[in-house]
């Protein structure tokens, strides 16, 4: 248990501040996920937790295990690297899938710039070509 571990008070305060701030950022991000109006706004909110929320909690964990173990503990960096590399990939895929589905359903949630294919940017043209590819395949 934590009461068996003897660490200086200054380090304990630093670890506590890091963990509390990281948890606070995660909470704010997930409340944004629950409260924001459309999917394209909501997709931004939880990234607050996956970037700086994870960073601060892992920093607290690294600090705690380094001081309590008496050796440098850096294995938490692995999680940070992994999360920060995979989150943009998954959210890009999810946003493009949502864009494709909303275009197919002519949803009101669709952002204005994505409604008219002739005025759309390269990303939308890409989605449209992917969609037509799927249609021709099926």
């Amino acid at each position: 248990m934590i009461s068996d571990v003897d660490i200086p008070v200054a380090v304990a305060v630093l670890v506590a501040a890091c963990v509390l701030f990281g948890a606070f950022l995660t909470m704010v991000g997930c409340l944004g996920l629950a409260r924001l109006r459309s999917f394209y706004l909501r997709i931004h909110a939880p990234t607050l937790g996956t970037s700086f929320g994870v960073l601060f909690i892992l920093a607290g964990s690294v600090l705690f295990f380094t001081v309590s173990g008496g050796r440098i503990a850096v294995h938490e960096v692995l999680i940070m690297v992994f999360v920060s590399m995979t989150t943009p990939v998954t959210l890009m895929l999810l946003a493009r899938a949502a864009l494709y589905r909303d275009r197919a359903a002519r949803s009101e949630e669709l952002p204005l710039w994505a409604r008219n294919p002739s005025q759309a940017g390269a990303a939308v043209v890409d989605v449209v070509s992917a969609a037509s590819e799927t249609e021709s395949r099926s």
Partner: protein, 93 residues
């Protein structure tokens, strides 16, 4: 003294992460569309991972770290597979 500070701050952090998990569960249940649920599941995975990390600090045991790493890996794979399913209607083509 330091144990008291850490215990109470970790309880507070776990309460905040618990509120975050409740918010993602609300979005997971309410929807309204499939992509909202997938996004909520992704956020839920991250919150669960952070909850395990705070448990790891609280018990001063390092085996929670492996569980957190496994959750991070599985969360990535599942979200990519679900996004691919939403886009194409099948996962492996």
């Amino acid at each position: 003294m330091s144990a008291t500070i850490l215990t109470w701050s970790l309880v507070g952090a776990q309460a905040m992460i618990g509120i975050a998990i409740l918010a993602t569960v609300y979005r997971l249940v309410k929807g309204p569309r499939a992509q909202d649920r997938v996004l909520a599941l992704d956020a839920f995975y991250v919150c669960g991972m952070l909850m395990l990390l705070t448990f790891g600090i609280r018990t001063a045991a390092s085996f929670y770290f492996e569980a957190a790493l496994a959750i991070a890996l599985l969360g990535f794979v599942s979200t990519v597979a679900l996004a691919k399913f939403l886009m194409r209607g099948e996962v492996i083509e």
